[in-house]
Amino acid sequence: MIDLAPILAKFPPVKHDAAANALIVPQALALEVAKWLRDDPAYRMDYASNVAGVDTLPVEKKTKVKQPDGTDKEIVTKKPGSMEVVYHLYSMALKHGPITIKQVTTRENPVVTSLTPIYRGAEFQEREAFDLYGIQFEGHPDLRRILMWDEFKDFPMRKDYVEPDDYEYEPTPHDAVLAKAKAHYPKASTSTEAAS
């Protein structure tokens, strides 16, 4: 495990996420931190292995708490959704790692700083995160769709993506597929699904 204290000392706005052992880097500092990590002789994180976007929906959790007078009171805890980009950095020169860097942004307007100017290895993976999650990478040299076609409008890896309904023939449907297939079924057969 790499000692993260020097980074936190040098860049006070960088937070440490203890659960994931990750550094949460503000967007304004991201380039600077990455560059320092790459060039600092103690770290030499010259290799960006993995870049992944993570989408978290807002959660509304309802918990019932017994009041002293015997009645139940519902407490609603709201956790806002977020969009993250996670970088796993290793060092090929010193053969150590990883240091996990996260840039957290909002789901409504996801903008982060691209690390492609520092690590060219992030180029395609950032394009992929843009394509599938719609995360804008500022400073990316060539931010286009990479896996889907250019005319495509949606961001399919987002948790709230609704895919096109094309389940006309579905002989063995379950769960979500069943719900979609039912719309296409003739009336006679829908009753089975309720019975089964």
């Binding site: 076609w149 250019d150 005319e151 495509f152 399919p156 096109p164 006309e168 296409h184």
Partner: protein
């Protein structure tokens, strides 16, 4: 391989023919000879998409040897191919290209959907970019289930196709009616456009007729 014609069109008397055979005279119809030639030299399009393509290569290699069936001549160009083996998952992004290749093939042309993905989208059918079966856009003659099918399964499919070719009408008055390949025009399927959410249209209504499964209550 049977030398006897299985065509219904062949009108020669069964007894007479066997008598002639004893004398060393073999009587077959011109159509049978034509079909025999066609089925013994099916040239596939060298067109691999995904995992099944590797099994297709194995089938063509020495151990399974597709050339025993006269089908080892993988043509890189669709203009010279008779058979398209759709070996792998056809994604929505790839679908227009697959259909274009099909359109470029000369008649008579055949399609084998190799593997679960090509038939129905297979294990990936729930994916947003996966076409749920190549038969939504182009007519498919033989389906091979399996993921991926063994090389022998591809050989079996090829034999199934050969049987189909054997029994097709190619000459005579009703060939045009019964055999779509001999209608005189090249069958072309419309190429879908990339839409904002899906392919437009999502399937070709002339080719794809969804089957309904009636489940009793």
């Amino acid at each position: 391989m049977t030398l006897l014609p299985t065509n219904t069109s062949f009108a020669a008397d069964e007894g007479l023919r066997s008598e002639l055979q004893k004398a060393g005279v073999f009587v077959v119809s011109l159509e049978w000879v034509y079909n025999w030639g066609r089925k013994s030299s099916i040239w596939p399009l060298g067109f691999g998409i995904a995992c099944c393509a590797i099994e297709m290569i194995c089938t063509a290699a020495a151990r399974f040897d597709l050339s025993r069936f006269g089908a080892e001549v993988f043509r890189p160009s669709p203009r010279q191919a008779d058979l398209m083996i759709v070996a792998g998952t056809v994604t929505k992004k790839m679908a227009p290209q697959v259909i274009r290749l099909y359109n470029q093939m000369p008649e008579p042309k055949y399609v084998i959907a190799m593997g679960a993905c090509a038939i129905s989208g297979g294990p990936f059918k729930q994916g947003y970019n996966v076409l749920k079966g190549v038969d939504r856009f182009i007519p498919v003659d033989v389906h091979i289930p399996g993921c991926p099918p063994r090389p022998e399964a591809l050989l079996h499919a090829l034999m199934t196709l050969q049987r189909k070719i054997e029994n097709q009408r190619t000459l005579g008055s009703d060939a045009r009616r019964t055999n779509p390949a001999y209608r005189g025009e090249n069958r072309e399927c419309p190429i879908p456009e990339f839409g904002e959410h899906d392919l437009v249209p999502p399937y070709n209504p002339e080719v794809w007729k969804p089957h309904t499964i009636v489940r009793e209550a």
